[in-house]
């Protein structure tokens, strides 16, 4: 079994293709959102080529929507970049959580895979690793699928306008949130996990209400991480008992 565990970082064409197919269904909804972005960007006065270039190069839904409010004849560069950074800072944490597996890859592959990291494929990859299955194929293949759908959706929205004039009416805006929530609840539950989540949720809400905009994800996640470290330390599971003794 130890051999299987040590190979969880493996990455080959078949795994990437499987990952692609695994996330393709959720990609349809990403395309719907891309279309909504394309339309919103056109309405905000962005040229068609600008909107498409942005979706292709930046590939980050929430942040792209957020900067539309800042767009105009004068571009507040610093505010735009700060907004993009704040919303995307969760990628920093995602990269860190993937590192235990990514470190086995040569640098070009390691950073190449990270080009397409986003919420859905990262969450799916972590869940795959938790099941003791290789997850980097989901990360890369799924990421490529999401990128394609995002760009395709943007293109549809730019050139055909009201493909889906009101995604909210169909609840499409909730697909991603429900998907992520289902993944969260699909993990193994224990008291320490529960405490971690409560701390993360509380910290996130406090940051949402009282700290600068867009800081809640990183604040909540770090608080949850720290809480988890302490709680898991103090919970006497076989694993921590067995390994802690050797460590110190």
């Amino acid at each position: 079994m130890a051999v299987v565990g040590s190979e969880l970082y493996r990455l080959n064409k078949l795994l990437v293709w499987q990952g692609f197919k695994q996330l393709a269904p959720i990609g349809m909804f990403v395309a719907a959102f891309g279309a909504a972005f394309g339309l919103a960007a056109t309405q905000a006065g962005l040229a068609d080529s600008t909107t498409l270039t942005m979706s292709m190069l930046v590939f980050t839904g929430t942040a792209q929507f957020a900067i539309l409010d800042l767009w105009g004849p004068e571009l507040p560069l610093f505010t735009i970049l700060l907004t993009v950074f704040a919303i995307n800072s969760r990628h920093l944490l995602m990269g860190a959580t993937l590192y235990p597996w990514l470190r086995h890859l040569p640098p070009a592959q390691r950073y190449g895979v990270m080009l397409v990291v986003s919420d859905a494929n990262w969450a799916m990859a972590m869940q795959t690793f938790n099941r003791k299955e290789p997850g980097l194929g989901v990360l890369l293949g799924g990421g490529i699928a999401l990128w394609l759908y995002w760009v395709l959706g943007t293109w549809l929205g730019v050139y055909f306008g009201n493909v889906i004039s009101n995604p909210k009416a169909f609840g499409i805006d909730m697909v991603m949130a429900c998907f992520l929530l289902a993944l969260v609840l699909d993990t193994q539950k224990s008291l320490s996990t529960f405490i971690t989540w409560v701390v993360a949720a509380t910290a996130s809400l406090l940051a949402y209400w009282y700290l600068p905009e867009n800081s809640h994800v990183i604040v909540g996640a770090l608080a949850g991480g720290i809480a988890g470290t302490m709680v898991i330390d103090k919970t006497p599971t076989e694993e921590s008992l067995g390994e802690e003794k050797n460590e110190h």
């Binding site: 942005m54 190069l57 590939f59 004849p73 004068e74 571009l75 507040p76 560069l77 610093f78 735009i80 970049l81 995307n88 969760r90 990628h91 920093l92 944490l93 990269g95 959580t97 993937l98 590192y99 990514l102 470190r103 990270m114 080009l115 990291v117 919420d119 009416a169 609840g171 909730m174 697909v175 949130a177 429900c178 998907f179 929530l181 289902a182 993944l183 969260v184 609840l185 699909d186 971690t196 989540w197 701390v199 993360a200 949720a201 910290a203 996130s204 809400l205 949402y208 809640h216 994800v217 604040v219 909540g220 608080a223 949850g224 991480g225 720290i226 988890g228 470290t229 898991i232 330390d233």
Partner: protein, 102 residues
């Protein structure tokens, strides 16, 4: 700092946005290459991975509109009872759509 929107400056802004985003995608991995993966660090990472999603969802669940809250509540309920992710997601989305329809 504001800059006038011209074809060239717009392209520059997009490239800058792409670079900032890329820095967030690469930065965490790069920083971790200086951190030895001890059991304590591993536990931090493990706890943080679930926390990212919880922190992302918490404001939606508490401060979102009624349809959003209903969708998340439905997903959570179906997930806890039936443990079927696809069913849970579908029920959540339908709940939001129905609420907005009526």
């Amino acid at each position: 700092m504001s800059i006038e929107a011209t074809t060239l400056s717009i392209l520059g802004v997009i490239i800058a946005m792409a670079l900032v985003t890329l820095a967030t995608r690469w930065g965490g991995v790069y920083a971790m290459s200086f951190v030895p993966i001890r059991p304590r660090v591993q536990r931090f990472i493990q706890a943080m991975s679930g926390s990212v999603l919880v922190a992302l969802l918490a404001p939606m669940a508490v401060a979102g509109d009624t349809a959003a809250r209903l969708a998340l509540l439905t997903t959570a309920g179906v997930m806890l009872v039936f443990k079927k992710p696809l069913l849970a997601i579908a029920c959540g989305v339908v709940a939001a759509a129905l609420f907005r329809y009526f």
